[in-house]
Every structure is written in C-alpha cells, then in structure tokens.
C-alpha cells in the first residue's frame, strides 16, 4: 500500500495524554472521508493502545510512548503505538477476551475492542523490551450498513 501522509507523536505515559493522543490521531485522520462511527471506533482503538502503555508497559514509572499514523492509499489509516516497557510474555493469551493482569480496575477487553474496531491488529512484543501495536482501518462510506 502506498503511503500518502504520516505524522508522529512522542509523549510520556501520563494518563492525561490519553485524551490528547486519541484526539490528535482523530484530527489527523480526518483528512480521510470518515463516518462518525468510524471516527469513534478509531479513537477508541487508539485510547485502548495508549492506555495499555500507561497501565501495563510502565506500571510503576513513566516512560516514552510513540504514536505513528499513516494514511495508506485513498482510504486506509494505520496507527502504530509503541513503548519500551515491560513487554508481554504470551501475546496470544493477552489478546484473549477478559484476560487481564490488571485486577479489578481493568476488564481485559482492550485488545478485543482494538480488534473489533479495526480491520487488522498486529501485536509484537518482547518481555523486557517493549510492545508495538499496529492497527489498520479502511474507512469511507461503504454499503455495509455500519
């Protein structure tokens, strides 16, 4: 797929940046013709990925989070969220609905939401090295009644 445009953000994993980052991604992606529902889905997926950095990647500290957004072809947005935190032991298990290491405060639905709100979700992680989550979503008015 051909890259048409991109932007990059870097910020510390403070929770106050969750709202900022999803709004920034949405504002950049708005150059594509998107429905309100698609915009909401994109924001939600970004919020899940960035929140995981704040909660899980750097549980007892603040660390850097990188977000890269690319516009591919005429109708696809790709969001990559990267941290250099704790990493995930078993990615397949982490992606299962309701799996959480976060206790009462989490529901274990983040990856499930990212997956159902985008067209593809790739998770690469090395314990002790960090995690990279890449999501792609094709947008625009299609006759699928969504």
């Amino acid at each position: 797929m051909k890259e048409q445009n991109y932007m990059k953000l870097e910020f510390p994993s403070r929770s106050v940046n969750e709202g900022f980052s999803r709004a920034a991604v949405a504002a950049f992606a708005a150059q594509l013709d998107m429905t309100l529902t698609e915009m909401g889905d994109l924001k939600t997926a970004v919020s899940e990925a960035v929140t995981n950095c704040a909660v899980h990647a750097y549980p007892d500290s603040i660390g850097p989070v990188w977000v890269r957004v690319r516009i591919l072809d005429a109708d696809t947005v790709e969001v990559q969220v990267k941290d250099r935190g704790r990493g995930i032991q078993d990615v397949a298990r982490a992606r299962e609905p309701m799996f959480t290491t976060g206790g009462e405060e989490r529901s274990g639905m983040g990856f499930t939401i990212m997956e159902s709100f985008t067209d593809s979700l790739k998770v690469r992680s090395r314990p002790g090295q960090g995690t990279t989550v890449t999501m792609r979503k094709r947008v625009g008015k299609r006759v699928t009644g969504r």
Binding site: E18, R22, G40, T44, T51
Partner: protein, 104 residues
C-alpha cells in the same frame, strides 16, 4: 468529568458527563461508590446521556458499581447510552449481566 446525583424514593440517579477513560475512571468510581455508601439505594440509575467518549476503562467502572449494587441487594440500570459508548459495551458483552439501554 462532571457528576450529578439525585436521590428520590430509594432510587439514586448518577449522571456522568465528559470523557470516561483511564485518566478519569479511578476518581469517578470512587465518587460513585461514596454516593452508594451514603444513600444505600435500592436502585441505581447510571445516566450516560452526556458522555462524550468511553473506552474499556468504563466497562470496569460499570462492573464495579454493578457488584456494589449486588452486594447491597439492589439493581443497576445503565441508561441513555450514546452510540460510541454503546459500541464499546456491545463489544464487551457486558449487556449479558447489566441492564443497558441506548439513548433514544
């Protein structure tokens, strides 16, 4: 986030406005639990009509209130849910345990 509560005849209505994410969730859950302890309602209505955004952090908050109401022997109703939060709740399957009604 803005929180408004009204208590009438054993029914506590909690209205939440703004964006419910991890940044806001802890404080919000604490405030609602304080209201539940103070009022010990039979029914709790969580009115999400003015909620502008919600992610999975909101699911955990709702489940926490649900469990608290269960312990009190009462019921929780989540009402007026706008479309973005509704999609998150739908994806989570939480509607199988909690009463949820979409915004008209």
């Amino acid at each position: 986030m803005k929180l408004t509560t009204t208590n009438t005849a054993g029914k506590l209505t909690v209205s939440v406005a703004g964006e419910l994410d991890h940044h806001e969730a802890g404080e919000l859950a604490k405030k609602i639990e304080e209201q539940l302890e103070a009022n010990l309602p039979r029914d709790c209505v969580l009115d999400l009509g003015e909620l502008k955004f919600m992610d999975s952090s909101g699911i955990a908050v709702i489940l926490r209130i649900y469990r608290r109401m269960n312990a009190l022997g009462g019921r929780l109703y989540v009402e007026n849910v706008p479309s973005q939060p509704m999609r998150v709740l739908d994806a989570s399957g939480i509607d199988r345990i909690v009463n949820i009604a979409a915004k008209a």
